[in-house]
Symmetry: C2
Subunit: 335 residues, 2 copies
């Protein structure tokens, strides 16, 4: 039974201490975490700060292109970055199911440690709960991130303005279709992989290159269409897209058409939407394309003072289609 997680690992006693020492401290190694006080002491953060939280419940735990571990780092790193901030520190809280194979936990934690090192953030404080068998499904992870905002004013969904260009940093729908495919073992989905990636460096480069960025958002749950609807509503503007310019991988297109899905509503985990003055668009695109995570960046539309809150798509054959928010649930536990 030593290869499965027992309830006492969440008791706060000796077994908890062992799990922390043998698994978490080893993979997250840093002096701030190693203090193991009730809270981490962060000396060197300079405000204004960005703070963001996400719980990750994705199933399966491992999928082409990532795992719940790497996703839990990338997702929060990206959310903090979208405020024009350098993410610095993450907290990490696990809810684990009794009986979880310890090697599965170890792989997830190792993925988190690697993802954190790659993104240049430190996991400085944590928590572990173990719940009885059946009270949760294997592993849930919460990460909360803080970072230093380096741009003023900070980008916000409220700041899109008529005349702005709308960019995306790459192809839409990879993460959502990949998770769906792994879960249902859809064998025809062979060449899709999650786009899960840390965007903090690319975002910093884009802001440096463009000088002025009005909106940064990552189109996760609900996909591009839903996120743009939120922005159009918050900024009280109209957003018009050109379907032919929205990058979607061929494999995603064909998978979606087979399954009756729309890639514009599928989750992404390594892409951002960037809305900024038209004349800054080329500089921002160049900065995106110089990043390994932005090679397929594209200008996909523009902002106008048309009907506030509306997102419309000019289709390949010249028609106009209104894109609403996602209604209903496309797929639970996508992230």
């Amino acid at each position: 039974m030593d290869d499965c997680l027992l309830l006492d690992a969440g008791s706060g006693g000796r077994a908890s201490q062992r799990l922390v020492a043998q698994c978490f401290l080893r993979h997250f190694a840093n002096p701030l975490l190693e203090r193991l006080d009730d809270a981490a002491l962060l000396r060197d953060l300079r405000g204004p700060l960005a703070m963001s939280t996400d719980s990750y419940t994705v199933t399966p735990l491992f999928f082409p292109g990532g795992s719940i571990g790497s996703l839990a780092v990338h997702g929060t790193v990206n959310d903090v970055s979208m405020l024009g901030a350098h993410p610095r520190y993450l907290s990490c809280a696990f809810i684990l199911e009794e009986g979880l194979p310890l090697d599965v936990l170890e792989r997830v934690v190792a993925d988190m440690g690697r993802a954190a090192r790659t993104a240049g953030v430190q996991i400085v404080t944590g928590d572990t709960k173990v719940v009885p068998r059946g009270a949760c499904d294997k592993i849930f992870i919460n990460t909360t991130g803080v970072g230093e905002i380096f741009t003023a004013p900070a980008p916000s969904g409220h700041n899109a303005r008529p005349g702005d260009a709308v960019l995306v940093s790459g192809a839409m729908g990879d993460h959502g279709l990949t998770v769906m495919g792994s879960r249902e073992s859809l064998s025809f989905l062979t060449d899709v992989a999650s786009d899960s990636a840390p965007l903090n460096q690319m975002i910093a480069d884009v802001i440096a290159a463009a000088g002025e960025v009005h909106v940064l958002r990552d189109p996760t749950r609900g996909g591009l269409a839903t996120t743009l609807n939120e922005i159009a509503e918050q900024s009280q503007v109209c957003i018009s897209l050109e379907e032919e310019h929205i990058p979607v991988h061929e494999s995603v297109k064909s998978g979606c058409s087979f399954l009756g899905l729309d890639p514009l509503y599928l989750a992404n985990e390594g892409k951002c939407i960037c809305i900024l003055p038209e004349e800054k668009a080329e500089a921002a695109l160049a900065a995106m394309r110089a990043s390994p995570y932005g090679t397929e960046a594209a200008r996909i539309g523009s902002v106008s003072d048309g009907k506030a809150g509306q997102v419309s798509l000019r289709t390949r054959i010249g028609g106009q289609r209104l894109l609403g928010m996602l209604e209903g649930a496309q797929l639970p536990r996508i992230c």
Copy 2:
């Protein structure tokens, strides 16, 4: 079915937006949260900062003296306070089970809102996942807090020194026994209630009164004995306690003796351990007793340079008993 939570409330689409607007924004109301960007923008934090995270999985959701909602605020507020910090901002992430009655969620969220206002903290960013029926048990909540450290050096489990006095701010074991009693419907446990409470103001008063505090810790999971063992190990000192001075309510004593439990290993959610120079002890105790949460504060022992890592108890009849860390799991899902 409108009175139960549906999966689409976690989809990131229209239904998520509705839940956020109708429930979370209403109870947590503040301008920082209302921006609804990917991260909250915190302008006014001054370092050094304390950051702490906890996930709450307590069952039942409601118990005498509190609920998972108030606990999720108090627990994290207290952890941040233990670094000698003013907690300022919390993130809040829900994992909710499909089919959860919406009035249950509403009560929990209302409790969180009230607890946050009482503690003087704001919930500024959040996340909601809804998982299919059976994938979690009703409601799990993560809160992560940041606060401003106002004392130097910050208290730490590593700072206990020979000659220090050991204080607790009140009676031990109330929370643990209450949750156990509510879960098992133990009818003889009629006059126990959780001690769940925000300690930030009391902690600030204690530090102001004493001037120098070496260790602050809240004895949650694993209780007083386990937490003191951690401190004795981290500080490489010996801690000696006087059983007769450790406050334990009569109802807890009798409940524990009936159930074969030791109150020194039961969780507390509104108490702190304070270790500081002997000559500051009276001032600290007076400050605790002036708080509604510290009326039963007591000096329970002292720190010596005896065997490093050891915690011993002088019993009422004059014997010596070694207190180890909690071995095994006393009760899962206590917080």
